[in-house]
Each structure stands twice: as structure tokens, then as C-alpha cells.
Symmetry: C2
Subunit: 265 residues, 2 copies
């Protein structure tokens, strides 16, 4: 995003010769000369657009302050040595032997996840014992998951984004799922597109699925020569069928688009 | 804020006669004709500014979703019949006879207010009993105050904004204080400027104080004839002195500004 400095240099443009000022003008945003055919807006609209931008930035500042106010300090916050009135602990059962339980608040868990709500409000074992065991998850992932529930923040790499997306799916934390999906889309490339596609399929991550499918169908020749492709044909051929269906549909659309263009052209 | 529809009508402007297109152009934002002297930006900068605006709006949407995720459901939410695992109640002692106690979470109170933190973490009476009595406050104000701690939202009128500002000051909830100040500034007028000024003075509401002082010094003749002025002279003459000092300072600055303009002009 290039930033514009808003220098209104009407003096400069008016000090030029009259002959010149008819044919070339100076843009008051980028300050370069342009011809009438490249003209954008009048000065009034330029000023107004600048005001709109300022208003939007103020709104962003207000919302950021609101987020800071609303995020809760969790027992996981660095340097949080104060009492935090927790009433439940979570344990990552994968490495239950070594890793410590993570204290949390029932009120926060039920507020963020309908699954925790059902679990804790219905006097199930977890509610009575005050202990929630979570299977098939590492301590680090659980820690990051809980931290997100308090702060709406997480430090991600691709593995963590996948692990958290699975947790978000399981506990129906939509905001976190969308957060992970956005991250995974930015990390898509030719090398990981097939595995990401299969992963997205398995966990109903539509946003990632569409992006991966688009990446794959744009590089069909290369993708179909990869080892993961052969593996997926063996393991889950229906996924490969869907890829070919998307590829075919894209080709048909391109052909129709091409035809209609050549007709109207 | 006027909204622009972004219609790029290069065909329209190029279909005009060549003679015309040199002298008048059509703004691609408001679509009105303008002369070179009223030119704003080139087309490229116009497109780029539009992209920036879209980016800012996406950021606003993301932040709004984050706020929705982070706001906690409180026992005061309409239709909240679910268990909410509260561990403390607050009572508005002004009308203790009739009004019900308001259940809340210690974790939320300590997270939002350093005063509640000190009260609840240090095993004071309130922490042991699980009851916080708040003096000199109505049930409605307490309810609105607690609701704000959970949601960062409040429905204000001028009286409620003043009452909440006092609570925000007492419990050091900066975000709420700033929220009330912004509201009170929008409600400033000649009729309430003196009372608002005195109120802002009493509660260290600098933002409101400055706005009220500016309103007053711009209308000194009218203000000094008002009944509240006479009352304030009797009750707290130092406040009136500060008003005159601000008025004098403004007059001196205007005089200097006028002198320097006439020198350089």
C-alpha cells in the first residue's frame, strides 16, 4: 500500500505557462504531471476522499482500543502473577504425564464455544470435576488455543494453524477457524496445495479449499506429476475426481468466455 | 460523509469534442465537469485511493468481528437464561432495599479495573464475602456500568454519561471514561457549557473540559449573563478565574495572529 502525502500545490501548477497548464496538470497526490486523458478526480473529491480516509482511520483506532479493553488477561499471560479466580483446568491428555494443567474460567469457555457451553452447563463429568481432558492434542496447541479464547490472538506457523483449525472445528470456535483459514491461504503454494486441499476437505475449511483448488487447477500438469498426487489417488480418489471436475468446469467457462469475447469483439 | 460511486467514464469524456476535452474534464468520482485549475489527482492515484479505502474497510470488518468474539455474555444480557458461573455480586447501596444484586465474575472485574483488582486480590472484606457494595449509585447506573465491563457498550443519555464517568473515574476504567467524555462533548451547547465545565473540572475529564472551555470563551458575553455563572462565582470562583484566564490567553493569541498576518500579508 503506497501512502500519499497530500500536498496541494496549486501555486506550482499555476506558475507554469498558460499553454502548458491546458495540456498537462500536476497530480496533487503523487505530484507527477498527467494529461487530461489520465485525469482522475476534481480537487473537491480528492479532499473529500482524504477526509473519508481519516474517518476510517479514527474508527480503526477506536476499535483497536475496544479490542484491548475487551481482551481478558489469562493465566497464560506473560508476567501474570496475580490471582485469576479460575474455576476449571484443561489438560492435554496426549502428554498428560509431563505437561501442567492450564487453569481457565468456565465463563470464558462457555462464552466462546457452544461445545464447552453444553459440556459445562449440563453438569457433565467435566463440570463436576472441574477438569477438562482434551485428547489428541499437544500441550503447546492447547495453550495457544486457550490463549486465543482470552485474547483473539495467536502466533501461528503452518503446523499450529492446522492444529488450531482442528480444535476450532471441534469446539465450534468460528472466529478462530476463520483466523487459521486466512493464515493458511497466505501460505498456499504449489508444493503444499494438494495436502492443504485434502486437509481443508477433511475439516470443512471452505475458504482454504477454494484457494487450494484454484492453485491446483491453475497448475494441473505440474500437480499431477507430484508424489502426493499419486498418494491421494490411492487414498481418497473422490478428492481427485473433484479436482478434475473443477478443472473441467474452469476450462468450459474459459472457452465460453473466449467465445463470447470473440463474438462481441 | 458523501459517498462516491466509482464509475470510470473515460469513454464519455473522450467522446466529447477535442476542443472541449482540453479545457474541461469530467471527475470520475462525482462525474461533474471541472477546469484544470480545479484538478485533483491523476487516474492512477484515484484508483489507488479507492483500494486503500477498501483495505481500511476490510480492517474495520475484521476488528468488528474481533470485538464481537471478545465481548462476554453477562448475566445482564437479554434472554441470557444460561448458567454463568458468577462468583461475586454487586449491590447498589443507594437503593439496597429494593433492587436485586447483580451477579458478576471476579475475573472480569479485576481485568477491567485496577481498583477491583486491589479489592479482590487482597482478601479484603469484599473478596471474602463475595459481595461488593457500591455507595451513592443507582441500580440502573450500576447495571449499565457492569454491562459495559462485559461488552464495551452502553446506551447513554447525558445523565447516564455523567454518572458512568464518575464510576469510571472511581474504578479507573479509562476506556469507559473516554467513551463518556466523547458522548458529553457531542452534547455540549451554550446552555449546558458552564455546568459541564464545572463537572469536567471536578472529575478530571480533560477532553470535556477543553471542549467546554472553548464553547464558553467563544460566547463570553452571553455566558456571563447566565444564572449558572452567578452561582459558580459564589460557589467556586477559582473556576471562573480559569475561564477568564483562558479567554485572555485566546484574545492575546488572536491579536498576535492578526498582527503577524498583517505583517506578512
Amino acid at each position: 500500500m503506497r501512502r500519499h502525502r497530500c500536498v496541494i500545490d496549486s501555486e506550482t501548477s499555476e506558475s507554469g505557462s498558460d499553454a502548458d497548464s491546458d495540456t498537462a496538470m500536476r497530480c496533487i497526490s503523487c505530484r507527477e504531471e498527467y494529461l487530461p486523458r489520465d485525469a482522475g478526480t476534481c480537487k473537491e473529491c480528492y479532499v473529500e476522499a482524504g477526509e473519508t480516509e481519516e474517518e476510517l482511520k479514527r474508527e480503526i483506532d477506536d476499535l483497536k482500543a475496544k479490542v484491548t479493553f475487551l481482551r481478558l488477561s489469562s493465566s497464560l499471560d506473560h508476567g501474570n502473577s496475580s490471582r485469576s479466580f479460575t474455576d476449571v483446568v484443561l489438560i492435554a491428555s496426549e502428554d498428560a504425564a509431563g505437561s501442567p494443567p492450564i487453569p481457565a474460567h468456565k465463563a470464558v469457555l462457555v462464552s466462546r464455544s457452544p461445545v464447552f457451553r453444553a459440556m459445562l452447563e449440563n453438569e457433565m463429568e467435566e463440570s463436576r470435576s472441574g477438569t477438562i481432558k482434551i485428547t489428541d492434542i499437544s500441550y503447546d496447541t492447547l495453550r495457544t488455543f486457550i490463549y486465543y479464547l482470552y485474547t483473539a490472538e495467536a502466533c501461528l506457523d503452518e503446523q499450529m494453524a492446522c492444529d488450531l483449525l482442528v480444535m476450532a472445528e471441534k469446539y465450534q470456535v468460528k472466529h478462530l477457524k476463520s483466523f487459521c483459514e486466512k493464515f493458511l491461504v497466505t501460505k498456499l503454494n504449489l508444493d503444499n496445495s494438494l495436502m492443504t486441499y485434502a486437509f481443508a476437505h477433511q475439516h470443512n475449511a471452505k475458504h482454504v479449499l477454494d484457494a487450494a483448488l484454484s492453485q491446483i487447477t491453475e497448475n494441473m500438469e505440474k500437480v499431477t506429476k507430484r508424489e502426493e498426487y499419486m498418494e491421494l489417488v490411492e487414498k481418497d480418489p473422490r478428492l481427485i475426481v473433484e479436482i478434475y471436475e473443477a478443472y473441467l468446469s474452469k476450462q468450459v467457462n474459459t472457452a465460453i468466455g473466449g467465445t463470447s469475447t470473440s463474438k462481441t469483439g
